[in-house]
Point group: D2
Chain length 335, copies 4
């Protein structure tokens, strides 16, 4: 039985404790939080769990084999490093790290110590994204043309990070999983409407080789909640709408037909193809439950997680470059 210690019992920590408690092969043995009232809550709901104020004290507990970190991004690096140095496997909230440099050290440290390092890219464990991954991997979409996502709503203005690090991180993690390639260049624009605060809306373009392009629109100040992704391929196109109660994934048998005989004025003809739409049935398993058990299995069998530290780092690489581009009104930044 793998013993889990959770650091941070704020907004997301309770979900981690609940899911790791129910995960096959694992049990939550410790929770660390500096706030007394948060520890009291743990003690009431989970009397068998030991609570800690001090991270090092928790790491000294030999029953803790793995650590889940659910604290603000600025603390991911020091906490993850301390846990790895104490020989613990590490599960860390997204964004994986505050900088590429930090993320690289975390990945290197885990590799050196042969420990499992995983980032909580929850969305890639949802039934919707797993189904899309299946379709992409089967080649159903043909050549990938574009990935376009919108994630906007009236949301909490963060004071430490821009909306890119708060919202686009979800979509970048999904894109990284689905596409399996990294962009070569990014260009981002955005705006801060509250003086002294980071950008509350942003637009990010990622350029890949082979004419693949991705775009992300994120906004904390929108009157309606939109969670919509379009994925265009040469054979099929997908609309993934997370606000739909059912039919979150729709597959369109639509596209263009490029005639390869060039006509007298040297132009290719571009025609249309429209066909059926198909919404595959999706299961109802909670993503975090699948993810928690995946972490446990990766540790047990020495496998690399789907959302490995490297995946977390790839996303941070894009975010860091995007932030630089955004500070320069869209000036492209190579990755």
């Amino acid at each position: 039985m793998l013993g889990i210690g959770v650091i941070g019992y704020g907004y997301w920590g309770p979900n981690l404790v609940r899911n790791f408690s129910q995960a096959r092969g694992a049990q939550v043995v410790a929770v660390c939080d500096q706030r007394e009232e948060r520890r009291a809550l743990v003690e009431k709901l989970y009397p068998a769990v030991t609570t800690y104020t001090d991270v090092d004290a928790m790491l000294a507990n030999p029953q803790v084999h793995a650590v889940a970190i659910a604290t603000p991004v600025s603390s991911h690096f020091p906490l993850a490093m301390r846990a790895l140095e104490a020989g613990k496997h590490v599960f860390v909230e997204k964004p994986f790290a505050a900088t590429v440099a930090e993320g690289e050290q975390m990945v290197a440290e885990a590799r050196r110590r042969n420990l499992t390092l995983m980032v909580d890219h929850t969305f890639i464990y949802t039934s919707a994204v797993r189904k899309i991954k299946e379709l992409v991997d089967q080649g159903s979409l043909g050549d990938l043309y574009y990935y376009d996502s919108v994630r906007v709503n009236l949301g909490l203005f963060q004071s430490d990070v821009s909306v890119l690090w708060d919202l686009a991180v979800h979509d970048l993690s999904i894109m990284d999983f689905l596409i399996g390639r990294s962009p070569q260049m990014v260009a981002a624009t955005g705006m801060a409407h509250v003086p002294g605060r980071p950008e509350n809306m942003a637009y990010l373009t990622c350029f890949f080789d082979h004419n693949l392009i991705a775009h992300f629109h994120v906004n904390w100040l929108a009157p309606v909640k939109i969670r919509q992704t379009l994925i265009g391929g040469s054979e099929k196109m997908i609309v993934y709408d997370d606000m739909e109660m059912s039919e979150k994934v729709k597959v369109y048998d639509k596209g263009i037909i490029v005639s390869h005989e060039e006509d007298e004025i040297y132009q290719r003809h571009v025609g249309y193809r429209t066909g059926d739409m198909w919404a595959p049935r999706l299961d109802n398993i909670e993503a975090l439950k699948i993810e928690a058990e995946h972490f446990v299995e990766c540790i047990q069998h020495g496998q690399t997680p789907l959302s490995s530290g490297e995946a977390g780092l790839r996303v941070v690489r894009i975010l860091e470059a995007a932030s630089r581009s955004m500070a320069n009104h869209g000036q492209p930044v190579a990755i």
Copy 2:
């Protein structure tokens, strides 16, 4: 009675002939098209209209007081200049001109000759956009924060111009009308998926002073048709969805509250405000009918049209800068 001559009876020309025929104070007296079968169609439907193969012959007709040009964008400049030089008022399809230089000459020539020059920015005459304009002008939205539009569908790939010139031109003309200010800088990205063809999808950011930002997403290769604009202000926010049968315009009494007392760690608090939503009743008058009569009235009373040549030129200015930025992966371009 103002005599109108229409040049080009292809896709849009028939709409112009029909609407100018019914416009108060005007009548269509001439149509010019080089294709015999198109002229035959005019002759059958409008026996009283004289048809021409040659533009100059039509311009020599003293009954033609004004000319409406519905030809490909590359011919707008030479045709409009010839018409102006012949002393005719001019109504020209969008995009107004193929380049800023051409547009500037057209505007100068009309001014010099004291002739009315109008661009067919049809959308600004729709009941939805007129209602939004009313709300913006009343100050209902407060300070403008952003303008965000999406116009995507599976559409005709143009061979001569990119999707920016074909689709974004609509949204830029709406934005120009609603906001009444011009951007200082643009950044655009896009991609061409058919070799030898212009970009079929594009993302354009416009930066204005006072932290106003606008963004346009256009795509000819989307599986679904989306026509949605979000307009964010400090007091109210609007969703304008042209695919809605009724309730195209929704006004949300939502926003953020920025507390101006700074707390001990020098941060402003950002809170939320949510209120009612309101969808104003819109009339059903055809936009092109209103626009045609507006052209006639402007000529009769020497007024400047809402969609003047200057308005057309402002939009071309953005398109030209955007094309340059797009060719450089988002490199910002000042206007």
Copy 3:
């Protein structure tokens, strides 16, 4: 070339003239309307068509081989009978007749004279309904359980007939076509909210053998426009939403599983089955064009139309029984 005479050039007549003019093998040769301004309109748009004030004069024209009747329902019977007696094939608007007795005479007269008699059940020629018919006939839905339709909006209050005869007639004609069976009993309720006017909202249940049930909700006084039909079968279920721009027909692989082993307390278990949803591609051909050509072909080849007089009569049979039930607060009426 089949010569068509159209009686009634009001709301629907122009659509008939336009479609029969373009139908292969037919041409409109005559139009009859008592109103001078309607005749003038015909003469302007269709100079080759002869106009008549008097029906008998038109029927005396030997170039008129078939007659299309687009007048109020009360005149369908006398006009159709006169046309049949004059040896003309007849195409008549829905509802087919004002009473079952009238409809029976019309059908008998056409049969006796071996003339084609067809009712304008336009919806059964739409691509959506033809696709559903294909699925039903293939047995894709399994045993049919129910047919449920809603057709409501803020609509024109008729003064001569209730909302059943005005709106439910559409859905009854679709159901008659799709199901191919007639109900054995009906029960209807409704209400008139304007004194002296017929019912402006109504609910109609049709009982068939084999536990099939159908229900129709029609309303002229609804704040929103709804056109939605659910069709439930043992294997699959369909949602047909005519307000959807695309994806009007959705096929759900959903249903119940009834376990046939009865348990100790003599109950069958009822479980669920959920699967994919599929929206077949629909073509864009105008229904009235298909219908007009079908009428011509049926006359040429002596075939029975899909929407034959008998089909029109079956729908009138339901409407007449429903009206009686509605007058008695839902008292069931056998058919």
Copy 4:
């Protein structure tokens, strides 16, 4: 502090325990369930609560001042009567009772003993329904014309009661609350598609005086989930869609204008009026929390609950009459 005992810890019981635990002025002191594993669950989550197998034992506990009954409908009567006889206030799940006769005895017994008797009509405590009630009571809708609701989905087939008692009970309770009048007659139709099981789909019409009509469509065998109510009035009309994430209540300023001058052919003219749509902001308070505190306050202050035993009885009266009508294919039944 009012001590609450909950009978039945199945599907709904846990919600009652949770909400009464958090309600101001109350605490859950006892839970009774015959199933050991359900009691064990209570003991784990609520160590301070005493669990019982036997209802009478629980009723003998002097700390239990009021009882909440969340058991199948057939046991509501015996359990409620035993509780009232033991001097306890009673909160009972809907449907209030299995028959009108039972319900009448329950109401009489509570009145005789001056005890609070309340039925769990949860929906009337939601923010959406409370807002509609406010509009109706202000007279905003004008004269009420109709109430039309649809509640369909792929749902659990009950073996003891028809879909009317399972689903329509929700809408009847909402209608009873909003309209404040009782129907004089009902007519219902329905069908059972699983042999030996009660009707799984049903249509119910309620006739009121003053030309008010209500209709309910309920179905356990629908491919999609619909929760939509239309309320028509002479001044305004409402669409209440419980599947909308936001904007559940939309108020339409639409209607008809009946001209009271009668024309020469003795007809009133009926015209249209269309205006704005307005979606009032709704609060987010959980309905069951409001309801639980309302029960406590009614006991404390001797007030009649909004969802009193009489309200529960009124709904059962409709359900009983509807069941009789449904067994006779829509034969109307007076109430």
